[in-house]
């Protein structure tokens, strides 16, 4: 796709009309600063970017940058237009009226969409954006490169998969299910070491046997449900059973038989020592003892007030003490006997009260099989102890024994079957309820497993896509890196910065680093070591390498003042790149560097390139003025008589182009000029050198003799005079007449004709010898050594 011309009407610096005609060739436009070069680049960017120009973005906030697109002197009703015409007659155009809708159109209609898909960063490179790629973040670099060779579609796929995965996680309630699973798992782990079916079944069967019967083939769920049902019943009936058990246990704990035995024993002891008047005797003897303490040893016999025996006076005191001890012991035995009787009476009373007051026992006693027990209980109830301290008759004791012994035997038997406790019931109930959750956790586990399988599959797809993207990225980056290095070496041959590579960043996904080797040391970023000039030429290398990838290499590129930070040598190298790397591309090159422009004109093939010069921009009304910079003398003549001034300029341009080229071929050294003048040499400077050097070096053979080629010297002298007088006048004041212009053309054409042999018509540098060059036939030659 090649551009035929770019037309601007009241667009940026252009006035009524400015047309940059490329005729499908590449174009070099030279112009001083602010002569309107960038207006063409802006127009192209405006169309590609659908009404946006990056370098104006921050200055003008209005949509479509209307206020800066229109020429400031354009009339109210004029429409600013930028149009790109293509070689096949197609075009894309934008019309920007003062107010109202901005209109993009194209022929064919879908061409505008195709053009607006161009990546502006891969088509336009401006001086102040040349190192942008290097300055961008790693992620921005990746974004800039991802459209290359269709990586974007796979980025989209990877993103889609992640979106689907996120939805699967959310919609399935995956996290909640996992939470539920953990809770149930913790419950199950309290009772079961595993949820392995046989282990679970064994544990459930073992515990269920206490409550229900079941067959071996019954499922865990069935057994658990049965057990739970039974436990429900048990929990309802358990209270009276436990109460009955506790009552019987209390009766048993009362140890009635031991108490009976204790009472009998103490009563027998009491019977042995006799118990009459013990208390009175003790009182008398204690009083006697007190009296004896105040008396001397008695001389006469004394009758004991307690036992009534006569005692020697000397022994009476000891007798009283002894008797008192015996009585006290008797009293102790009696008290123990009474205590035992009372304890038995209380125990019997308690038993009767408990039996009577506990409904569970009462109900139990009403059971038909408990008639015998009931009779015993009734008998026990009839054992009435009116005086708990009174001694039981032996008949009463025997009657009690006859009731208590069988009753206790029955109670002991009842107590052998201990009723389940509430805690146990509760624990078993929880156990079986938990067992029922095993199928639930299995279902939950199954669900989670399915979701995880899906999530895992989606993640795997994503990872594989990323892996492929990564491989493709490496492949693409390798290809681009090769291209960058190739271009870099052309601009900077033999310099100590090499192995430039674009590589995926090891630090994060979707990021790209630029690595290089600086004096043999690997560097992870060009910003670490490269000067601004190097960064710019690296930026240019990267731009050209990227521009040469994919579909872009069929499309035009626009380079606006890209060599500003490069020295003369490297600018020359850029021309090599243009010739060798971009020979098949349509390039629009804009420069304000006159010397480089001359070099471009000398070195780029005229059949592929057109050269324009922008005249100085005077005002918005005059706008951009372009003139071709590569006329032939024939073309120059056709400008007359209508365009005298342009014809004068064109002659001057021809001389400015051809003389440096000839000087280079003839190895002619130009004297050094100071400062900027060195870069602004004109054809006059060259003519002066040709004249002075030609007198010594330019020879023609006449009659077998080599003579100075005097006709040539004179022709150059004449040309020099007229260029100074008239060509300068044409460009500075525009006052050249038609006849003067015709004569100027004739003289300059004549001057340049001496670079060809009058006989063989070949260039005088057609053949090279050690110290001279010559035409093919050898009629003329130029000494190239001093």
């Amino acid at each position: 796709m090649r551009i035929d011309k770019i037309e601007l009407v009241w667009f940026r610096g252009a006035a009524e009309k400015a047309a940059l005609k490329a005729n499908s060739r590449s174009v070099v436009v030279y112009g001083d600063t602010a002569s309107g070069k960038s207006s063409f680049v802006d127009a192209v960017e405006y169309i590609i970017s659908n009404g946006k120009i990056e370098h104006l973005r921050h200055e003008y906030s209005d949509t479509y940058l209307r206020s800066c697109i229109r020429n400031t002197k354009s009339s109210e009703d004029s429409i600013s237009i930028a149009c790109m015409h293509f070689e096949n007659g197609n075009y894309v155009k934008v019309e920007v009226p003062k107010t109202g809708k901005i209109r993009f159109e194209s022929n064919p209609a879908d061409l505008i969409d195709a053009i607006q898909k161009w990546d502006v960063k891969r088509h336009i490179l401006r001086q102040d954006e040349i190192a942008n790629f290097i300055q961008e973040t790693k992620s921005q670099k990746y974004s800039a490169l991802s459209p290359l060779l269709g990586l974007q579609v796979y980025e989209d796929v990877a993103e889609n998969i992640i979106k689907i995965k996120t939805n699967v996680v959310q919609e399935s309630g995956y996290e909640d299910l996992k939470g539920q699973f953990k809770v149930i798992e913790a419950e199950i782990n309290q009772f079961f070491t595993s949820i392995h079916e046989p282990d679970v079944k064994e544990a459930i069967q073992e515990r269920a046997r206490k409550y229900v019967q079941f067959s071996e083939s019954e499922t865990v769920e069935s057994i658990s449900k049965k057990a739970i049902s039974e436990l429900d019943k048990i929990s309802k009936s358990i209270e009276p059973e436990i109460k009955r058990y506790l009552t019987l246990e209390n009766i048993h704990k009362a140890k009635i038989q031991e108490k009976i035995r204790a009472m009998i024993s103490s009563d027998e002891a009491l019977a042995r020592i006799g118990e009459e008047y013990v208390d009175s005797k003790i009182v008398i003897l204690e009083n006697t003892n007190k009296i004896l303490e105040s008396l001397p040893v008695l001389a006469t016999n004394v009758e004991c007030p307690a036992c009534g025996r006569e005692i020697l006076g000397t022994e009476f005191k000891d007798h009283v003490t002894h008797e008192l001890d015996a009585l006290r012991e008797a009293r102790k035995v009696r008290e123990q006997a009474i205590k035992n009787r009372r304890e038995l009476a209380i125990a019997l009373s308690n038993i009767n009260v408990q039996i009577k007051s506990e409904k569970a026992v009462a109900d139990w006693l009403t059971l038909p099989e408990k008639v015998g027990v009931k009779e015993l209980v009734d008998k026990l109830e009839n054992v009435i102890v009116e005086d708990s301290a009174a001694r039981w008759s032996s008949d009463s004791v025997e009657s009690l024994k006859a009731v208590i012994s069988p009753l206790l035997l029955i109670i002991e038997k009842e107590l052998e079957v201990k009723p389940p406790t509430t805690d146990e019931i509760l624990a078993d109930y929880t156990f079986f309820r938990t067992a029922l959750k095993i199928p639930e956790i299995k279902k939950l586990n199954d669900k989670i497993t399915k979701i995880e399988a899906l999530i895992s599959a989606l993640q795997k797809i994503h990872d594989k896509i990323r892996e492929r993207i990564s491989k493709m990225t490496v492949q693409v980056l390798t290809e681009i890196s090769d291209e960058i290095r190739r271009i870099w070496v052309k601009i900077h041959p033999g310099q100590p910065i090499d192995d430039i590579r674009l590589v995926p960043s090891p630090e994060k996904d979707k990021a790209i680093d630029i690595c290089l080797r600086f004096y043999g040391t690997n560097q992870s970023s060009p910003r670490l070591t490269l000067s601004e000039g190097y960064r710019n030429s690296l930026g240019l290398s990267i731009f050209l390498a990227l521009a040469n990838q994919g579909e872009t290499k069929e499309q035009p590129i626009f380079l606006d003042d890209i060599v500003s930070s490069l020295d003369r040598e490297h600018r020359g190298m850029i021309i090599d790149v243009l010739r060798e790397e971009l020979s098949g591309r349509q390039v629009f090159l804009f420069t304000h560097d006159r010397e480089w422009f001359d070099e471009l004109r000398n070195r780029l093939e005229p059949e592929h390139w057109i050269f324009y010069t922008l005249q100085k921009w005077f005002s918005p009304e005059t706008g951009i003025q372009l003139i071709p910079s590569h006329y032939t003398f024939e073309e120059t003549e056709t400008l007359l008589p209508a365009h005298v001034k342009p014809s004068g300029n064109a002659v001057r341009a021809i001389m400015d182009t051809e003389l440096p080229r000839a000087a280079e071929k003839l190895n002619l050294f130009m004297p050094y000029k100071q400062g900027i003048r060195n870069d602004h040499r004109t054809c006059i400077d060259f003519l002066e050198v040709f004249i002075s050097e030609g007198k010594r070096k330019f020879k023609i053979r006449k009659n077998s003799n080599w003579q100075v080629y005097q006709e040539a010297i004179e022709a150059w002298q004449k040309a020099k005079e007229l260029v100074i007088a008239w060509a300068n006048r044409a460009s500075h004041t525009g006052s050249l007449s038609v006849s003067e212009a015709r004569k100027l053309i004739s003289v300059c054409r004549d001057a340049l004709s001496y670079f060809e042999c009058p006989d063989c018509k070949k260039k005088i540098w057609a053949l090279s010898h050690s110290d001279y060059v010559r035409c093919e036939c050898g009629r003329v030659r130029w000494k190239i050594t001093e």
Binding site: L149, G150, V153, Y154, D156, V157, E159, N160, I161, K163, I164, K165, T166, N167, V168, Q170, E171, S172, G173, D176, L177, K447, T449, K450, I451, A453, L454, S456, A457, K460, I461, D463, K464, I465, R468, K471, M472, Q475, V476
Partner: protein, 66 residues
């Protein structure tokens, strides 16, 4: 570009979902069937949601958010 760099998404989906095949052949078949169409254009949030719903349905897992 070399053959190595060509992108066969259907193949990737097939390779990545071998395990899924054992659990839900229909979910896998569905994923494979959309590999060369739906998945290769940028999905909207709603479209991604619908595909996720369909996958869960085919897995026999009902949505918790319905």
């Amino acid at each position: 570009m070399s053959e190595e760099s060509t992108f066969d998404l259907e193949k990737i989906v097939r390779e990545s979902t071998k395990k899924l095949k054992k659990i839900s052949g229909s979910a896998r078949t569905y994923l494979v069937s959309i590999a060369n169409k739906e998945l290769q254009r940028r999905l909207t949030t709603t479209e991604a949601f619908q595909i996720a719903q369909e996958l869960l349905k085919k897995m026999g897992v009902e949505s918790q958010c319905e």
